[in-house]
């Protein structure tokens, strides 16, 4: 049991409320506003969103390049620039991810959800099931959640928690090929290439990873918009202000 401490100006109701926050993804009792996403988490979220956009677009054009450029080779550097943006965004993405892991340790407990997969928690799985039923139009009324709902956490853990790590590891392994044998990228991540078989297999898996993240992004944006309209709590504004507000006071 912890007490919710609201930042100045963020709370609409000043009464500190006891909530079941130690239980992951526990439905919320009655209160109006909670400070959920701290500044580093929000900053990371939007930088990461930008990185993923740049990485997916440039990555796609690295795999399937644009039509041939006219003129002298020396007058063009299109692939070079596309690859530069891919690598630059990849570094931001990777450093951001490391920072985000750090924040999971020092931030509030919501910051840990992205990296947690409570596989042995039966209660959590039942909540996943309830949330799945809500999306299948089988539940009349959704539950309230301070952090991510369990289904969202499940998707986020695999697509962003595990997915980012996978893309960073395979990405740096491929980058190490260009950076040449003996570079720190090669020394740290070069083992990935024989693990997958050969370079082409790593490329293939890196592409598949991109599509998994794209699928996640599609579902994530849709679910965020839909939940913002149809659930009982704020969603999109929460990732801007950090504060979760609720539309009703009912406890269940």
């Amino acid at each position: 049991m912890t007490t919710v401490s609201n930042p100045p100006g963020a709370a609409t109701r000043a009464t500190p409320t006891l909530v079941l926050e130690d239980v992951p993804a526990a439905p919320v009792r009655s209160y109006k506003a909670v400070y959920v996403y701290e500044v580093p988490v929000r900053l990371w979220h939007w930088i990461n969103a930008l990185c993923i956009t740049v990485l997916a677009v440039t990555g796609y054009f690295i795999g399937s390049p644009l039509p041939t450029q006219p003129g002298e080779a020396s007058a063009n550097f299109l692939m070079g620039y596309i690859r530069f943006f891919h690598f630059a965004a990849a570094y931001v993405f990777a450093i951001g991810f490391v920072g985000r892991i750090y924040w999971a340790f020092v931030g509030n407990h919501h910051a840990r959800q992205l990296f947690r997969f409570p596989f042995w928690n039966g209660h959590w799985w039942r909540e996943v099931w309830t949330e799945a039923r809500w999306y299948l139009f089988l539940e009349a009324r959704p539950k309230k959640y301070v952090g991510h709902n369990p289904l969202a956490q499940l998707a986020m853990f695999w697509a962003i928690g595990v997915g980012s790590a996978f893309m960073i590891v395979t990405g740096f392994a491929l980058y190490g090929e260009g950076a040449q044998a003996g570079s720190w990228q090669d020394r740290l991540f070069g083992w990935v290439i024989p693990l997958f078989g050969q370079s082409q297999d790593v490329h293939t898996w890196h592409h598949l990873g991109m599509w998994v993240i794209i699928l996640f992004v599609i579902v994530h944006i849709y679910a965020a918009v839909r939940e913002d309209i149809m659930s009982r709590q704020s969603i999109i504004s929460t990732m801007v202000s950090g504060v979760r507000t609720f539309k009703d006071d009912a406890s269940e």
Binding site: G63, S64, P65, L66, P67, T68, Q69, E72, A73, S74, A75, N76, F77, L78, M79, G80, I82, Y135, F137, A140, R141, E177, G178, Q180, A181, G190, W191, I193, P194, G197, Q198, S199, Q200, D201, H203, T204, W205, H207, L208, M210, W211, V212, I214, L215, I218, V219, Y222, R226, I229, M230, R232, K247, D248
Partner: protein, 357 residues
Amino acid sequence: MATLETFYEVMRRQGITRRSFLKYCSLTAAALGLGPEFVPTIVQAMETKPRTPVLWLHGLECTCCSESFIRSAHPLVKDVVLSMISLDYDDTLMASAGHQAEAILDEVIRDYKGNYILAVEGNPPLNEDGMFCIIGGKPFVDQLRKVAKDAKAIISWGSCASYGCVQAARPNPTRATPVHEVITDKPIIKVPGCPPIAEVMTGVITYMLTFDRIPELDRQGRPKMFYSQRIHDKCYRRPHFDAGQFVESFDDEGARRGYCLYKVGCKGPTTYNACSTIRWNEGTSFPIQAGHGCIGCSEDGFWDKGSWYARLTDIHQFGVEANADRVGATAAAGVGGAIALHAAVSALKRAQHKGEV
């Protein structure tokens, strides 16, 4: 063979003058990227060290490695080091045959126990107790095990010995198996390629004979001096890649101008080999220079990675042959459609319950 001769003694016996011998030492130093101060070291080694015989076995293979090898652009290296002084057994190249040839194997194993190099071209098929490849009336795998037992080191010539190559491609009916999966207790140098470049083969052997140690290997057991870079890294068409100038289809204007072959499936960016530096047939050309993309023949399992003109591996789990991008785009379209449908139902539901929550 009562006493073990040195390299130098054997060379002199073969009629090589001292002058030619010294020239050979300088050439070897240059070929291995060593400075002139290493020439006396090589001379010293050749004069004092007993020669190291090489036994060259042939398993399940097409002999393209040997075909490549005998076209080495540096005949001095090939003839002197291998034909004359070191290559004691190679059933394809040697003069003797039958029992006489097989007797040489036993003789070398006995006289040079633990001190000869075993070069393997092709690989052993393991199905049916190895009956798919019979040498001298016995399964090749038995011969391989017997000769490997007392070898100092093993060279896996070509993609067959290194990775399995075409005979190990799905479904691999004979269970052709790369050498390192059969012989696990010896240092193995993989020299992949279908075939490997002649100068790479002679270079590896020369290094081992002169320095009496195996060359530095990368994670996959390939000599770093020839396999540490991709075709792409040293490709003379690389500027067109960086500029974004591609051959869109064979015979188009880009192909005539010699643009990058990436979009017609060149596997140079995923293939480790020395083709773009050493080239083939006395440095005349290599596939990309001839206008065709690299097919990645020196990479593990290159027969099973889908088309030679595709840069992504085929994914067979979806029934039809598809690659990562096709699978991903299909899934994205499917999820997009499902979301549109879901959104429509959600809107209807919401309209039904308007004002309730």
